[in-house]
């Protein structure tokens, strides 16, 4: 399966439904941190450039706050696309990811507990 097919399957999103209204970008709290803006995600998928999306800063700047998913009037849900890009990356890495045993060493005082918990919830599937 091509990357494009993969990303469509994981996300369940049809990027062609996007009408380029930009509501996602208007809603995104990480907009300024991102190199590829939420409303541009679909273009990368349509142009068969999932690589660039998966390697972008945006992939890791998305907070999964779901504002774009909630508000998208076209059911495109850029947040799902970027999450799928992350999934593709994670699947490629396979077992190279962190194991729970390695985490304590990486912790510091500043790191909020909640971040850890949500990270576990999200990536331990």
């Amino acid at each position: 399966m091509s990357k494009v097919e993969q990303i469509k399957e994981i996300s369940g999103v049809n990027p062609l439904k996007c009408m380029k209204c930009g509501k996602c970008s208007a809603s995104c709290p990480s907009f300024n941190e991102m190199d590829i803006k939420p409303h541009q995600f679909v273009t990368y998928v349509i142009n068969d450039d999932v690589e660039a999306l998966a390697e972008s800063k945006s992939a890791w700047k998305c907070l999964s706050c779901f504002a774009c998913i909630e508000r998208c009037p076209r059911d495109v849900k850029p947040g799902k696309l970027i999450d799928a890009a992350r999934q593709i990356l994670i699947r490629q890495r396979g077992q190279e990811g962190l194991s729970p045993d390695e985490i304590p060493a990486l912790l510091d005082e500043e790191m909020p507990q909640q971040l850890l918990m949500s990270a576990f919830r999200k990536y331990r599937r």
């Binding site: 009408m19 209204c21 930009g22 996602c24 208007a26 809603s27 995104c28 803006k37 009037p73």
Partner: protein, 662 residues
């Protein structure tokens, strides 16, 4: 064996590009009874019809099959052609090899095979077609218009001017509709009331027009030319004949709490009220929910002050029954509810308003007497943000999938008027696309940008956040600059999607008129019959058929009127001969068919029959062919097969089934 002719249309390349028409002709000739078959580029053309005519004469055809587009398109054409050439029009069958075949299949072999099968089914059926004669029914020369907005008024005036009686049924206390709520109209900026009220007066004064306001359609029965309609005239509690419209009752009424619907609930009105000053009829109604007298028995102030003695607390709803030949639906629209759009804070902040509310605010008769001010604190807004496409073009369940069509233009109008009247107020419009097809429309929009300095930003707003200081933080984006925008505004105006009046579904059901998933009434043909419903005798005027602006509405209203006039001008209508018929020798008289007939078209009589020499009195079902609409419900409920439907008989359908499964 009947002599059948088969005519295969190329429809230019519409059919011929995917269906091997020669092959269809070749195989048609192998069908039983087919004595003539030919193909032609455009069977519906004059020359094509001449070929059919000649074939009928030369081959003495007793039935013809035309393999062409949908029967909904040209069945009537070919039937007329047959009739002109001495063949009963009901001996014509259409095999739909365009919509149901060539247009949806790509593979030529597959499409050709299917076209052949459809042809065979039609040939099998036409062998069993009976020559039918259409009956006649009289036309009641009176029209009903449901809805008294600009669409209904225009339709009524046009019909009335042609000399026919028209009744308008309007559920509000006054005619006028949405247009009466508007301040100015695009693209000419003339005052809405100034152009509407003369029309309202004209309708009211017209000798052929009867207006039933504060009334609703309760029940519809009958069929084209012969509708019977029950109209509920809601209790007004004011005698229409006595009231002089002086207005003192409204001034004196102590119950002033109800929200003013006409001003979109932005202020209140009295319990006895006329919705607006130019109301027609200028007779108030009493809001029974708010009236102190009607609820507690005490008060009666309006009665005391009414010098004409017009107040009548004892009035009851009244049902009147009228006959009509045609019905026009002109039920209009409303804006959608914004409860599902929490991100725009409509329910949170008084300063987030819909465009229709802005119309009322900018109107001199509105809640702020025409001053542009914030409803929260009465201050003049210095920074106004317009958000386009709120609820329009949405494929989720929060909004509507269609473009509401009018928003781009009225927003340009609002922006322009504000910049004109309050030059120190900044106006920003967040848009997805600006759509301005229409005469002088794009020029109008460009004037807003170029001459009035309205700031247009491409990008939908994500969120409107009310701030502690009373301002509104607009989270937007400029997609062309690829920048996020945080803009502090004093007022936000939402270009809210429009939807058909919610009552229309109920009305469509009563009329058995077809309606789409968005509650817009379906037209008989999207291009060629845009003002007719597929249900004969029912016509469409205004936004009930689809979003449109005032000029388009008026044009469609006139078009609907012409269709009505064309119908009412006839003394008799040909009735559908495809009605049910009972075979007296097979009928058991069991009454099951009458139980399912929606038209009450089946009755029973005791009749002497001669059943192969046995004479006896039997209870027999009899179908009134003027009432029967030909649905066929009775035919299936009849266990003995005595009841059959002409044109769609049991044997005809079974012949089609057999041909398809052959």
């Amino acid at each position: 064996m009947r002599k059948i002719g088969v005519f295969v249309c190329h429809c230019g390349s519409n059919i011929a590009a995917t269906v091997d028409v020669k092959k269809v002709v070749e195989l048609a000739l192998q069908e039983q009874g087919v004595v003539h078959a030919e193909d032609y580029p455009y069977m519906c053309s004059e020359a094509g019809q001449v070929r059919i005519a000649e074939a009928i004469k030369e081959n003495k055809l007793e039935g013809i099959v035309v393999c062409s587009c949908s029967p909904r398109m040209h069945e009537a054409t070919f039937r007329k052609c047959a009739e002109r050439n001495g063949l009963n029009p009901y001996l014509v069958e259409i095999a739909n090899i365009r919509e149901h075949c060539s247009w949806i299949h790509k593979d030529m072999a597959e499409a050709t095979e299917k076209a052949v099968i459809l042809m065979r089914a039609a040939v099998a059926k036409v062998h069993l077609n009976a020559p039918l004669q259409a009956g006649e029914s009289a036309v009641t020369k009176r029209a009903l218009v449901i809805g008294g907005g600009i669409a209904g008024i225009q339709t009524a005036i046009d019909i009335a001017d042609a000399g026919y009686k028209v009744d308008i049924v309007e559920k509000e206390p006054s005619i006028g509709g949405r247009m009466s709520q508007l301040d100015k109209t695009f693209p000419t900026l003339d005052c809405s009331a100034c152009i509407l009220t003369p029309k309202m007066v004209e309708a009211a004064a017209h000798e052929n027009i009867t207006i039933h306001t504060w009334s609703e359609v309760e029940k519809v029965s009958g069929f084209v030319g012969n509708f019977t309609v029950d109209i509920r005239k809601k209790a007004r509690y004011v005698d229409m004949d006595k009231c002089t419209g002086c207005g003192i009752c409204q001034e004196k009424c102590p119950s002033k709490k109800p929200l003013n619907e006409f001003n979109r609930g932005l202020n209140t009105r009295s319990a006895i009220y006329t919705p607006f000053a130019q109301a027609i009829p200028n007779v108030p109604v009493i809001d029974a929910n708010a009236c102190i007298k009607l609820n507690t028995g005490k008060c009666g102030i309006c009665e005391k002050f009414c010098q004409a003695g017009a107040i009548d607390y004892t009035q009851k709803d009244e049902i009147i029954t009228e006959q009509y030949g045609a019905i026009v639906v002109a039920t209009g629209f409303d804006t959608i509810k914004l409860d599902k759009y929490g991100e725009y804070a409509y329910n949170e902040s008084k300063d987030v308003i819909t465009s229709l509310e802005l119309e009322r605010i900018m109107n001199a008769a509105g809640p702020t007497k025409g001053h542009l001010e914030r409803l929260s604190d009465g201050k003049a807004p210095k920074e106004i943000v317009f958000i386009q496409c709120v609820g329009s073009r949405c494929s989720d369940d929060r909004g509507k999938p269609y473009c509401s069509k009018i928003c781009c233009m009225y927003t340009a109008k609002h922006a322009m008027l504000i910049r004109d009247k309050y030059p120190d107020t900044n106006v920003t419009v967040f848009y997805i696309d600006v759509r301005t097809p229409g005469k002088n429309f794009d020029e109008f929009y460009r004037r807003a940008v170029e001459d009035y300095g309205v700031n247009y930003v491409k990008g939908q707003v994500g969120k409107v956040a009310p701030q502690p200081d009373g301002s509104l933080m607009v989270h937007g984006v400029d997609l062309l600059e690829n920048k996020q925008i945080l803009k502090k505004a004093d007022m936000v105006v939402l270009a809210t999607a429009i939807e058909p009046n919610p009552d229309v579904r109920k009305i469509a059901t009563m009329l058995t008129a077809s309606i789409d998933t968005n509650n817009f009434l379906t037209e008989a043909h999207p291009k060629l019959r845009p003002v007719e419903s597929p249900t004969a005798g029912v016509f469409l005027s205004g936004v009930c058929q689809g979003p449109k602006d005032i000029p388009e509405t008026v044009a469609q209203a006139g078009a609907a009127a012409v269709k009505v006039i064309g119908l009412l001008a006839k003394d008799k209508l040909k009735t559908n001969p495809c009605t049910a018929k009972a075979d007296e020798l097979r009928c058991n008289g069991c009454s099951q068919c009458a139980n399912v007939c929606p038209y009450g078209a089946i009755s029973y009589e005791t009749r002497q029959v001669n059943d192969h020499g046995i004479r006896e009195d039997r209870r027999i079902a009899v179908v009134n062919s003027a009432l029967c609409q030909g649905c066929g419900a009775c035919t299936v409920t009849c266990p003995s097969g005595a009841m059959d439907l002409q044109g769609f008989s049991n044997r005809q359908i079974i012949a089609e089934v057999d041909a398809i499964c052959r």
